[in-house]
């Protein structure tokens, strides 16, 4: 009856406890037998389910794994992957790895920051778009790379990236470039579609 004990000492709000997304977190906790070393794995699942790590979620995980909340907070803030803020409806991630940097991805970031009036790492005021940067996605052959809602788009220019991001926000889904229209070798890269 170890499991029920743990449930009872949690100060989980009814809203969260009855949230269907919560079952994934509970399953992972159980799968790892509430071992403290599963903390990062549990946080991964929690973030995937909820989109970010709320205070209540972190508190719950801390109690379940019997680790201090400070440690959960410490881990959640140490790693770039975790976010303590709700994310925007859509995401636009610009790769700033070396290959992308050499091909001027910095200009893309500046352009997007200007277009959407938001600093990289933040969400627009209307909650539509989260703009962020990442250290190398390993798609260096396609540099510079921008990821829109999980769809990788390579060989970007500031213009093409801004156009694609606007399209994403307006249409609600990333634009799927027809493969046939990809630029051929030595052709002009990107360009506004």
């Amino acid at each position: 009856m170890r499991h029920t004990d743990r449930q009872s000492d949690s100060s989980l709000s009814p809203a969260l406890a009855s949230d269907p997304r919560f079952t994934a977190v509970e399953r992972t906790l159980k799968q790892y037998q509430y071992r403290p070393d599963a903390l990062i794995e549990v946080l991964h699942v929690a973030q995937e389910a909820f989109g970010y790590l709320s205070d209540e979620l972190m508190d719950h995980v801390a109690r379940q794994l019997k680790v201090p909340l400070s440690r959960v907070y410490g881990v959640a803030t140490f790693y770039h992957f975790f976010s303590l803020e709700p994310q925007g409806e859509h995401s636009c991630v610009v790769c700033t790895g070396t290959a992308c940097y050499v091909k001027r991805s910095g200009e893309i970031v500046k352009r997007l920051e200007g277009e959407f009036g938001v600093k990289a790492g933040n969400t627009t005021a209307d909650g539509k778009l989260t703009l962020s940067t990442v250290r190398c996605l390993g798609s260096c052959g396609l540099a510079p790379v921008v990821v829109l809602d999980g769809e990788i788009a390579g060989r970007n220019t500031p213009d093409s990236a801004a156009a694609a991001a606007h399209h994403l926000v307006a249409e609600g889904k990333p634009e799927k470039k027809p493969v046939a229209e990809r630029p051929r070798r030595r052709g002009r890269r990107g360009g506004t579609p």
């Binding site: 903390l39 794995e41 390993g138 052959g141 540099a143 990809r182």
Partner: protein
């Protein structure tokens, strides 16, 4: 499963494959997928189904074929011959299929020349299967000779034999430092401890490097087999693969591979009918460059912040939960099945006397063909850039090659003939690192590149030790002053002093190597630094030099306070 079952499985799969007239392989590595390989594969599958060709032609999603910038790639293998097509679209995929059926050349798509140096000049050991087997089917790996080495080791070799074989092969750590793998294994083997662990480092934080991801994606079983061999050699029953958080596809394929291997009795308890038990679990990274450092990585596996601790004791003596732990890079483990399977002598015959075997590089940046290559150790940089990579595009001049990521340095044009091996690279002030090679032409500004790497290290410093935490911030600030034209020659002196200080006093590899990009660019491109400071000029035209002359200390403080963009982060 016992060894004879393994052979039967391989035989059966080979027969199955030979039953097809033709196998059409589509690269399903991350770069090709993002270029549209999934659409190509779908088109091919549709075409095959529509034509009722299922019995004759098989379409296979494979791992990385190499020239990533030319993706999506399609390889047609029939009657022992292979043809590779680049930049395939769904339109040209139909043409390719048509040509296979009719036995004619496709009307508008032309294949890559069979002697294209990018493909022909490579020597593939670790990447032997990648691009020709389906990473999601264990049978294909087994048919290609997979798990033979493990079977051989478990039934015909003692753990000591395996360690000795790895030592004799001269294999060195492919993660960066180049520590002799055999020595590490022997240390872990001899270390007293009830439980031991094997850890594969698949964190790969170096920007511009993606060898490990490709290996995990393209040939996951090779990594598992290497880890199992290590487990047998050192006496461990549990292994962990630490996969970088961004590598979803690699994680998924590894998970599937572990499940399949367990189901077939190639992992788990009583592996291949022997007394050896070995389990492998995946741990997902969460985005911290410092976790590539072995002690940080172990902290992360144990669910903590990825902060390093002081060595010695080394992980081989005291690692995960205080037990002896063997940590190697994914690429190192992937080389082990070849070492044990084909023998140490065979492996040692490749490469240079001190750096044996082959090395996988991620060639990218300003180069005609970017992608993944595997060449013998000691291949010169010129061969890699000009022959394999096809030279610098748009008739520009080669300026430098950055190797080893933020821990490495730049190789200038005058050293193009340097052989790429551990010793030679160290001699010219850089490192092999994990194998990222970023080629830069004259449009790159070296102080700016150094500033980029320092920005990276500053951002990624875990904050545990002061030299790294404070030093990288200050170094980055000085570099920013240089690139914005507000620095004085004193700043350059200060920068050099800091390089020395941070390098010698930091706790872990991140801080110790953070000054390398600065030191190596200063060594070969000092003029550019001086130009920025004295002439307030950026020859490459990358840096925006401030309009007004350098403000004094007070003026700068004022600028800080006013939050002038570009000066302070």
């Amino acid at each position: 499963m016992i060894p004879s079952d393994l052979r039967a499985m391989a035989e059966q799969e080979r027969e199955r494959q030979e039953g097809f007239r033709c196998r059409i392989m589509v690269c399903a590595g991350t770069p090709c997928l993002s270029a549209g390989a999934d659409v190509v594969l779908e088109t091919l599958r549709q075409g095959i189904a529509e034509g009722g060709l299922d019995a004759e032609i098989e379409s296979v999603a494979t791992g990385c074929m190499g020239p990533c910038s030319r993706g999506p790639l399609v390889k047609v293998r029939s009657r022992g011959k292979e043809i590779v097509y680049e930049r395939v679209t769904s339109e040209s995929a139909r043409q390719i299929l048509f040509s296979v059926v009719k036995g004619r050349r496709p009307p508008t798509v032309s294949p890559l020349p069979p002697d294209l140096p990018f493909l022909a000049r490579q020597e593939r050991v670790v990447l032997a299967n990648s691009g020709s087997v389906n990473p999601e089917r264990i049978e294909e790996y087994v048919a290609a000779g997979g798990y033979e080495a493990l079977s051989h080791a478990l039934h015909e070799m003692t753990p000591d034999d395996v360690c000795r074989e790895v030592s004799l092969s001269g294999l060195r750590g492919r993660g960066g430092a180049g520590y002799p793998t055999g020595v590490k294994w022997s240390l872990a083997r001899k270390a007293p401890g009830e439980r031991k662990y094997v850890v594969a480092n698949g964190d790969e934080g170096d920007p511009g490097a993606y060898m490990d991801r490709s290996i995990m994606e393209s040939d996951p079983h090779r990594v598992l087999e290497g880890m199992a061999l290590a487990g047998y050699a050192i006496g461990a029953e549990q292994g962990f693969i630490y996969v970088r958080g961004e590598y979803h596809l690699a994680g998924r394929r590894l998970e599937g591979a572990i499940r399949d291997a367990e189901r077939k009795g190639l992992l788990g308890s009583r592996v291949l009918g022997s007394n050896f038990n070995f389990r492998i679990d995946i741990r997902t990274g969460a985005g911290a460059f410092v976790c590539g450092e072995e002690t940080s990585l172990m902290a992360s596996i144990m669910g903590k912040r990825g902060q390093p601790w002081h060595r010695p004791p080394y992980p081989a003596q005291k690692g995960l939960w205080g037990n002896p732990t063997l940590i190697n890079n994914v690429e190192t483990f992937a080389a082990v099945p070849a070492v044990v399977g084909r023998g140490a002598e065979w492996f040692a015959a490749i490469g240079t006397p001190k750096s044996r075997g082959t090395k996988v590089y991620a060639l990218c940046g300003q180069v005609e063909i970017a992608g993944l290559i595997e060449v013998p150790m000691g291949t010169t940089l010129r061969e890699v850039v000009y022959e394999i990579g096809g030279g610098i595009p748009s008739g520009k001049r080669f300026k430098a090659a950055q190797s080893g990521g933020p821990s490495g340095g730049c190789i200038p044009a005058s050293y193009l003939d340097t052989p790429l091996d551990y010793e030679s690279m160290e001699r010219i002030g850089t490192i092999m690192g994990s194998g990222g090679l970023i080629i830069m032409d004259e449009t790159s500004c070296m102080p700016d590149v150094a500033s980029f790497f320092l920005d990276f290290c500053r951002d990624e410093s875990c904050g545990k030790c002061a030299p790294c935490r404070v030093g990288t911030v200050e170094m980055h600030r000085l570099l920013r002053r240089i690139t914005s034209g507000t620095a004085t020659m004193d700043d350059l002196v200060k920068l050099e002093e800091l390089c020395e200080l941070v390098g010698t006093t930091s706790l872990c590899g991140l801080g110790m190597t953070a000054p390398n990009p600065v030191l190596s660019t200063l060594r070969y491109f000092r003029d550019e630094y001086v130009d920025h400071i004295r002439q307030r000029r950026c020859t490459a035209g990358v840096c925006t030099i401030a309009e007004n002359p350098a403000p004094g200390a007070e003026g700068e403080a004022l600028l800080h306070a006013m939050g002038v963009p570009g000066e302070v982060e």
